[in-house]
């Protein structure tokens, strides 16, 4: 580890300059009663080449999504990230910088984040975006608390928000943790058999602080009925929409059909699934929420010579100024990953985004067609339109079916029983831009052979 310590071997010289004689002198303020004596019970230091060898060996024991046909998506994308993204974002000037508190020497990151904000606004159809949340779930959760802060005073249903019952449980759990402190009550809105939101029941949300729905929802369903939601709940109730960012290459952005806030997972732009993190949450809103929103924001300004310049702005919302009255506790966020996202988005361009969305849509449709012809395998929501994900019902335990597929080298999707007890015979199948005909055939053959096994 001495390769990390430029002053290793020069301790004495430095101590002497201070009139000290040992490293221990530096820690003499720590009372004896709480001093650790003896070395940490940890292994020997390793050199770079030993760590690299261990990392290759240990991480090599994982099974990469790229090694096999994979239909596991469930909110994270098995995307392709162009090589420039990583190479540019890891330039030391970006990688090793921190929050741009000194705008004079941070214009690069500030401008990149201002461009990021612009691209997110364009993507979702809203005028304001921050520079990232931790992930889609905290973005949803903080959107809800933000809506309550803004709307509660005038709300008829005070401290109440409505959430689609198809929001997956891990996200619900995050939302619960984030809303519990503010005493927010969560009510659910149900869906019909096609997986579409029950609009009549959504009407009861009018007068509450917010409604949170997802488009496409967790079962991949694109629900056109959502376009009417805003008119049902009214202006005083925030419509918060969780999105699949890629889907907006073909789907009308929620900002155009009444969403007050849009949140979602930014990961498909910029970074691989990376075991679920670091990823980044998208957060966009209308002007009404600007001063109550969480997270950092970059604004354009000028320097004293009149040159265009960028700076963090509206910091008075933030914890380092407003402390316990801050709109959020977020401090370290996911800027670097958002930068990767910005680079990826600029490489795609409008038509590249559209092509990407069409590829996912095509793969979804092709997989659906191929799977649904298998005897005794049914679509859970046969009438619905799907993007990226769809659920199937299998003749037996989903977990068994997935195990069978796994032993055939196919990652078949998610056992929906993990999310909802009642769905333990359902699999959430996810297709994506990289899904090939061969992948689909492997899934179909694997499922077919399993259904034969269980039925025969």
């Amino acid at each position: 580890m001495v390769d990390q310590l430029p002053n290793a071997g020069r301790e004495k010289e430095m101590l002497e300059a201070m009139g000290m004689s040992s490293m221990d002198d530096l820690f003499s303020n720590i009372p004896d009663g709480i001093r650790r004596v003896g070395p940490l019970p940890l292994p020997d230091p390793q050199s770079e080449e030993e760590i690299w060898a261990d990392a290759q060996r240990i991480l090599g024991a994982n099974v990469s999504l790229d090694d096999r046909p994979s239909f596991l998506s469930a909110g994270l994308s098995r995307n392709f990230v162009p090589s420039v993204v990583g190479m540019l974002a890891t330039r030391g000037e970006f990688l090793t910088s921190y929050t741009p508190y000194q705008p004079e020497v941070s214009q690069g990151m500030l401008q990149a984040m201002w461009e990021f904000q612009t691209m997110i606004c364009e993507l979702v159809g809203l005028p304001i975006s921050n520079v990232s949340m931790y992930d889609a779930s905290t973005a949803a959760a903080e959107a809800i608390t933000c809506a309550v802060r803004v709307n509660n005073r005038k709300a008829l249903q005070k401290d109440v928000v409505y959430i689609s019952s198809l929001v997956p449980p891990h996200r619900m759990s995050v939302i619960r943790n984030y809303t519990i402190g503010a005493g927010i009550e969560i009510r659910t809105i149900e869906h019909d058999d096609s997986g579409n939101l029950l609009l009549p029941s959504a009407e009861s949300a009018a007068g509450s602080c917010a409604v949170y729905v997802e488009q496409p929802n967790s079962l991949g369903i694109v629900d056109i009925g959502l376009a009417e939601l805003k008119s049902l709940i009214g202006d005083a109730t925030s419509l918060i929409v969780g999105i699949d960012a890629v889907s907006l290459g073909v789907l009308e952005p929620p900002g155009k059909w009444g969403a007050d806030m849009v949140v979602g997972e930014g990961q498909p732009f910029g970074i691989g699934p990376t075991f679920g993190g670091p990823i980044y949450g998208i957060f966009a809103c209308t002007e009404k929420y600007l001063r109550q929103m969480p997270g950092r924001i970059v604004g354009q300004s000028w320097d004293t010579d009149g040159n265009l310049a960028f700076t963090l702005t509206l910091s008075t919302r933030e914890q380092h100024i407003r402390r316990h009255r801050a709109t959020s506790n977020i401090c370290s966020n996911e800027t670097l990953i958002a930068l990767m996202g910005a680079i990826h988005m600029s490489l795609l361009g409008p038509e590249g985004l559209e092509r990407l969305a069409l590829r996912v849509a095509a793969a979804t449709e092709a997989t659906k067609r191929s799977i649904s012809v298998i005897d005794s395998v049914d679509l859970v929501n046969p009438g619905a339109s799907h993007f990226r994900e769809f659920a199937i019902r299998v003749p037996g335990n989903a977990s068994d079916a997935l195990l069978h597929l796994d032993s055939n080298g196919v990652l078949g999707g998610l056992d929906l029983g993990i999310w909802w007890e009642g769905m333990s015979d359902c699999i959430l199948v996810g297709a994506d831009e990289r899904t090939s005909e061969d992948d689909i055939a492997a899934l179909r053959d694997g499922l077919r052979s399993w259904t034969k096994e269980v039925s025969g």
Binding site: D44, T96, K256, I271, C331, G349
Partner: protein
């Protein structure tokens, strides 16, 4: 000025992608009528060469540790070993989905397990979760656990969290997000924890106290065990903000000090690059009595059975262990910032049992820098308008220290912020300014262990130069940066928060 929205290649310039696997017309049919996007987003249309040049140009207008000394106090801006960046590009982390079966994840699970154990050991805690993705989220998570703990004990009425006035803003913000009322206690003379004030503040309504040690003034709070006793006696829990962990590893730990819960900032102590503001990683550790409230799941292991498939070859089978019914559930939707955990693992492996040496060098550098700043040679001293005051009256500091520019301001109007801006001209990132707020005109300086003596010597000498300069030069600084002082007020008044689309905005 490079303006990415001025790149106007032909439609489709940058997209280079294979075709969809179905005919486009067929695909379009799968999208419900009326839900189709009408106009594509106004993204730039740029080729790869243009993108590369744009972001290269931007990066050259940005300052990182790789550019120069980054003494940003409280942020532990240490060198980020490049090996770690290479490791996280391996498919065994980059191309892994958190919902894959455990048999696909033995490598990652074993790293998670190793990190849980190591962090528990170094902090004197019993259980660790790696789920929180930043320090602030770690605080929030731990306070949520403490909240559930009190509720489970029928003590749900405890509704106050105590923080010293020198605490980082995330402490009160996190507790407040859990619904707690914040009781801020003033520091004693010299910036230290005031036990009297603490005793006065605790009571039957105390849920917890949040404190960092060493404090944000770089002082080791010698009466910390006494503080813990006071809070515990009142029925409260002690929360340790581990942002300053870099100062004490192997020397002491929050367990010994009497804490019940702690967060770590892996991006500080264990060098996950800060990347312009994040990502971070904020694992928390707790004592036994809080373990069952931790977010779920955590990594666990058992001896490998004959029926288990290949693992990592250490004789164990790794798996996710559900924390159980009392768990607060999830704070991030997957397993936290795994990439940061893996980087931190690689970092930790380099030191192993000698992590202690890292803390030693951090504290050595900090004391050395403070010493040479405050003790210029006679000739230099004579040229200085006025020496800064020490932020705290102490002989020793830990990994960071504070200086007050108040004397200078009084003398000639040069503020702490001016000095900070002027340091930019000398090729440094500025120290943290105006935090902690209890030190007037504060500069908070944390050199970290990865700066050489030469850099520290040069910085001290350059700071002395700034203190000797014509005040006008300092107050109008910076002069040599990519842009001059930026008008933050204009930004806040006009709120131009996105590119207007055509060309850059004019005034």
């Amino acid at each position: 000025m490079s303006d990415i929205f001025s790149f106007r290649g032909a439609p489709g310039t940058g997209w280079s992608q294979p075709s969809p696997i179905l005919e486009e017309s067929e695909v379009r049919k799968s999208i419900p009528n009326g839900a189709s996007r009408k106009a594509l987003p106004g993204w730039p249309r740029a080729s790869e060469p243009e993108i590369v040049r744009h972001y290269t140009w931007l990066s050259n207008r940005n300052f990182g540790i790789d550019t120069g000394f980054y003494p940003l106090g409280s942020c532990t801006m240490k060198h980020n070993p490049r090996l770690n960046e290479k490791i996280v590009q391996l498919p065994g982390i980059d191309r892994i989905h958190p919902l894959q079966p455990e048999s696909h994840l033995q490598g990652l699970l074993s790293i998670f397990f190793e990190m849980q154990e190591m962090l528990a050991e170094c902090s004197g805690m019993d259980s660790v979760t790696l789920q929180p993705v930043a320090g602030a989220q770690g605080e929030f998570t731990a306070i949520r656990c403490i909240q559930e703990y009190h509720r489970s004990n029928g003590e749900g009425h405890r509704d106050k969290v105590i923080v010293p006035d020198s605490a980082h803003g995330t402490n009160p913000a996190s507790a407040s997000m859990c619904g707690y009322e914040i009781v801020e206690i003033p520091s004693a003379e010299g910036g230290r924890l005031d036990l009297g004030a603490l005793s006065a503040a605790v009571g039957d309504d105390t849920a917890a106290m949040m404190i960092t040690n060493p404090s944000t003034l770089g002082l080791f709070e010698v009466e910390i065990t006494e503080a813990a006793r006071i809070v515990h006696e009142a029925g409260g829990q002690m929360y340790y903000d581990g942002a300053n962990f870099n100062a004490i590893i192997g020397k002491t730990d929050p367990g010994r000090m009497g804490f019940d819960a702690v967060h770590y900032n892996l991006h500080k102590t264990f060098s996950q690059p800060h990347g312009g503001g994040g990502p971070g990683s904020g694992p928390i550790g707790v004592r036994e009595h809080l373990s069952r409230f931790l977010p779920t799941p955590v990594a666990a292991r058992k001896s490998k059975g004959a029926e288990d498939p290949e693992g990592v070859g250490d004789g164990f089978w790794y798996f996710w262990e559900d924390v159980g019914e009392s768990s607060i559930g999830k704070v991030q939707q997957w397993h936290g910032n795994a990439g940061a955990v893996v980087r931190a693992w690689a970092f930790y492996r380099r030191y192993g049992r000698e992590l202690e040496m890292m803390s030693e060098h951090a504290v050595l550098n900090s004391n050395y820098l403070r010493h040479i700043i405050m003790n210029p040679d006679k000739e230099t001293a004579e040229g200085i308008h006025c020496m800064p005051a020490e932020g705290a009256d102490t002989d020793l500091v830990m990994h960071e220290f504070t200086l007050s520019m108040a004397p200078l301001k009084e003398l000639n109007g040069v503020t702490g912020k001016d000095v900070a801006k002027r340091l930019l001209d000398y090729g440094y990132m500025s120290p943290t300014v105006y935090f902690p707020q209890i030190v007037p005109e504060c500069l908070m300086i944390e050199p970290t262990e990865t700066e050489s003596k030469e850099v520290l010597d040069q910085f001290a000498s350059d700071l002395h130069s700034v203190l000797s300069e014509d005040p006008e030069t300092v107050t109008s600084a910076p002069h040599t940066t990519p842009v001059k002082r930026v008008d933050e007020v204009w930004a806040a008044r006009n709120l131009v928060l996105r590119h207007p689309g055509d060309s850059f905005p004019g005034r």
